[in-house]
Homo-oligomer: 580 residues x 2
């Protein structure tokens, strides 16, 4: 990963480039996709150790020669913004999944694990990714904890940021979601930005819908990019104002088609592709950056532009010296594809090593194990009584789910009451929802009601619950809910479906309660089973665990639930369940 | 110059951008040249202190309002590679000359002063430029001394480089002229590159004519740019190989017209303009970067591209955060021009301050004085006898000047002899040439003969003599030559014309024997007089002092003279004046 070369190596590399010493690998008769000049032409490329030594027809010898018969050679793809945690996979399993799709570098925002474990979580991610044939760089999560209305497990303060910025693989401050904090000049927020800038590192933005003077103010603070544009007018305004535009196409948000129309010859070098969040089944079936590039070309973008936006432009923004292109002295992260329409990947070279051949991974990916991140579910024992909601003879607020959205409605209803307790009203799809603080054994339990899950019995629980990742559980009865939470504890985190007094399906996520330690295939298989089990209970939602995971996120309107209670997001405060 | 903002300032800036606090200056009804998006459109720009606060029609108020009635607002120009010493001006006088031409930042290579004073010379340049309304960044000269065949005053070794790299305004290692050292893996040369890279700074190249495997080898060492391309095929090969192409248009070398034809929509962002060397009279009469931009547009380049290549592209290559464009939080280095064809400059704002109005400088430029750089002519007293060349009854080698070139021919002639001494042969234009070591009082004097100056009597001398800047003197007789050198000593460096036993004209260059402490106007006036005096002696060369200054440069073929003697450049060694 270290791009500075030892003198002896540098001297050898120069001799290989001059043709005085045999190189390691010659890629012969390739169609070079030159992202510097925008040209595609036939030539040979010589590799030595982890480097490209030289490019040209003059190179004819090497210890190993691949005649590629006119196939295309591209720089390895770079994802400019992704949360690995969304894949539910640990870094090594994530690597196994994306490497065959040509991804050789990613810039990850370890926002989720930082909310659970703070700096320790980021250190785990650094260690877990250090020996992989995928260069994983990190941005420091800028907003941990996300709000004061919830209990997170970790905190990333100025001192943590200062210490983390010293790391080579940490490139800056991740998406500054707290845009109100920026534009209202919260000094702690501004200091995070300042410290990063002083270290000559980058500050990523996150400013959905921000425009005019508010946008100018946000950018004036030194924020350099945005990946939250959803309409092209927004992207155009941000690009004009100096932001790099990360065009996002992931599992959750899909902005490629809307934003592609702003790309032209004058501005493409200020834009690049990111995925943000990719679910494991999408990584497996669609692919990763190759999927975005292919889709962009299908939508009408020139292949060379699409490739520049998945390689060089990203490398330049992040100052990744020796990355994002094919040139002498550059790291030999290379992709061989059959054509520039379906981008079917034949080979991938990572740092000069053939790691994917005929589309299949051919190297062993080392696994990093760390007991320190495996014990993050820290709660008192839970009983059905913990889910009792007393009746006060008042009407109550209910969170109403809007299908396929993370915003919710606020309903006011007459609750169903039995023995002075508010109970679920299955007929009207009113279920109980609880958020159990799981980091510090505070005993905090937030209780509420939710409409829209559609399950007729049992309970669903998850230790993935944005942004603090407490345990969130929805259920038809107190007993099932308690059982679900106990199963989460037993698994040290994960997803579970409970019914009829037993576990119907589960996926354990023991790494910080967020990531599996199993293979992508196993995770996907178990996910399928879980989703089927949730459907069997009557849920009509496509993925009720994703819906569940956003019900505890108190920055998205309207009504949410945290371990501290019900949150009215417009008022940005905890409110009572009961109507006065 | 410090781009990181104090928190209180940052908070104020944000409030100004939001419209909550009045800004300092509003530029109203401007046509904004947006180098990010490639668009030009009418809007308003609000400034606060040294920053751009915001851009948009929403901004209508400020303490001071300029209604610019549709004039064009451009980012300040940046010169990506220049030797200030070539202007013969100290940094403050140089600033006075270029600021009215819209130059607000330059990247200087203090190669000449480093050859005289080593690290101390660079420190002088840093200090002399620290309070100017022109941001002067530096690259560390990579090849001081240039060769072992001459005596330089300074040396820039690894330790100097390590120490200088810590400076904020030092951006990297300057043009690596020692390309043989790179491609033959000279470990000292490679270490200079490595140290720079480890500090995350930039390594500029200098590789005239290098191609194919030698070029690949040179680039593989980590060299990132080139400004020596003279034909478009060369530029194209270097651009394809990953180099940024600095398109040079200066007083000495003019490559714009040849190289412009490679620029297209796919590669323009990898190219930018530099001047390399600008003589004071050219700066005064032609201009600086505005001249290049104007010429490029006249040659057919779109104005927006020409501007991008004089602003944003340069800033991006050098990682000049907050420079090279007009955006919130950026340094307010701005140019107002009447149109995008003649680029007539109306106003220049430097860091938010109006410094040029109606094309005229309106601020006081502080002068930095340092006695430590004023005493660099360090020689024993010189007498006519020092220029005696003994006859050995052999034929001798003569340096033949080729008009308007810095390469020379090697002639072999029968010398004219009087009293066992070789003397000048005015009829055949054979004059004496001497190089007197002037840094360390070694007493070294290199003696030779030169043909092509055309002076019939007297002598010309200069303390500007690439790269070691010893005193070089050409003359028709020993007495005039001694007088010329004595005058150089008296002036503490400079140019002098001697004839008939007296000084005909002179220009003192007391700063390291390279730069004047007078104004540009005075320097130009004196230069004119000197050139006229040289013509009066019979010289037909346009500028014999420039010719003289290159006769001691032992890296340009064929025959040169240093303080150590005659150099055969192809053999890269000192040779005897006498033919065996």
């Amino acid at each position: 990963m270290d791009l500075s070369k030892k003198l002896e190596d540098l001297s050898q590399l120069i001799k290989v480039a001059k043709g005085e010493i045999k190189g390691d690998i010659l890629l012969k008769n390739i169609n070079l996709v030159n992202v510097f000049s925008g040209e595609i032409y036939q030539t040979n490329v010589l590799l030595w150790k982890e480097f490209v030594a030289g490019i040209g027809d003059e190179y004819k010898e090497a210890h190993q020669i691949f005649d590629l018969n006119g196939k295309y050679l591209l720089p390895g793809f770079i994802d400019g913004h992704i949360h690995i945690e969304s894949s539910l996979l640990c870094p090594s399993e994530f690597t196994k999944l994306v490497l065959p799709h040509g991804t050789t570098s990613i810039i990850a925002d370890p926002h989720e694990i930082a909310n659970v474990l703070g700096e320790k979580g980021i250190e785990y991610m650094l260690k877990a990714s250090q020996d992989l044939p995928l260069d994983i760089y990190f941005m420091i999560p800028s907003c941990v904890p996300a709000t004061h209305m919830e209990t997170a497990g970790g905190e990333i303060g100025i001192a943590n940021i200062k210490s983390l910025l010293k790391e080579e693989r940490i490139l800056g401050l991740a998406e500054m979601m707290n845009f109100p904090g920026v534009i209202f000049s919260d000094f702690e927020v501004l200091e995070k930005i300042k410290v990063t800038k002083e270290n000559k590192k980058i500050v990523d933005g996150h400013s959905p819908g921000l425009s005019e003077t508010n946008l100018q103010a946000y950018i004036s603070a030194g924020i350099e990019s945005d990946h939250e544009c959803t309409i092209h007018e927004e992207a155009k305004e941000k690009l004009r104002s100096g932001m790099r535009i990360m065009i996002r196409e992931g599992s959750a948000a899909k902005n490629l088609e809307d934003l592609l129309q702003i790309i032209n010859d004058s501005n493409y070098h200020r834009c690049f592709f990111v995925s943000d969040d990719k679910h494991p089944e999408d990584l497996l079936t669609q692919g990763h950056m190759d999927y975005i590039v292919k889709k962009a070309v299908k939508l009408g973008l020139k292949p060379i532009r699409a490739i520049q936006m998945a390689t060089l432009n990203t490398a330049q923004y992040f100052n990744l010296n020796g990355k994002g292109a094919i040139a002498p002295g550059y790291i030999a992260d290379l992709i061989v594809v059959e054509n520039l329409s379906n981008f079917a990947i034949d080979k991938v070279f990572k740092s000069g090593q053939l790691v994917v051949d005929k589309g299949k991974l051919i190297v062993n990916i080392p696994r990093y194990e760390d007991p320190l991140v495996l014990d993050t579910i820290n709660i008192n024992s839970i009983s059905p009584n913990d889910f009792i909601i007393k009746d006060k003879g008042k009407r109550v607020k209910v969170i109403e789910i809007i299908p396929n959205q993370i915003v919710t409605n606020k309903l006011i209803i007459e609750p169903q009451v039995e023995k002075e307790e508010i109970v679920c009203d299955i007929k009207n799809d009113i279920l109980k929802l609880a958020v159990i603080e799981r980091h510090k054994r505070t005993g905090n339990i937030g209780l509420g009601l939710v409409r829209g899950f559609g399950i007729k019995k049992g309970a669903l629980a998850s230790s993935v619950a944005h942004d603090s990742h407490n345990i969130v559980v929805v259920g038809a009865d107190n007993y099932s809910m308690a059982l679900a939470v106990r199963e989460i504890v037993k698994m040290r985190g994960g997803f579970v479906v409970i019914s009829d007094g037993g576990v119907r399906a589960s996926l354990s996520l023991p790494i910080a309660g967020l990531m599996s330690d199993e293979s992508a295939e196993k995770v996907i298989e178990k996910l399928k089973k879980i989703l089927q089990s949730a459907k069997d209970l009557g849920s009509q939602i496509e993925n009720p665990f994703i819906t569940l995971s956003f019900l505890a996120l108190p920055v998205i309107p309207q009504l949410k639930l945290t371990d501290k209670g019900l949150v009215d997001v417009s008022e940005f405060k905890i409110i009572s369940l009961y109507e006065e």
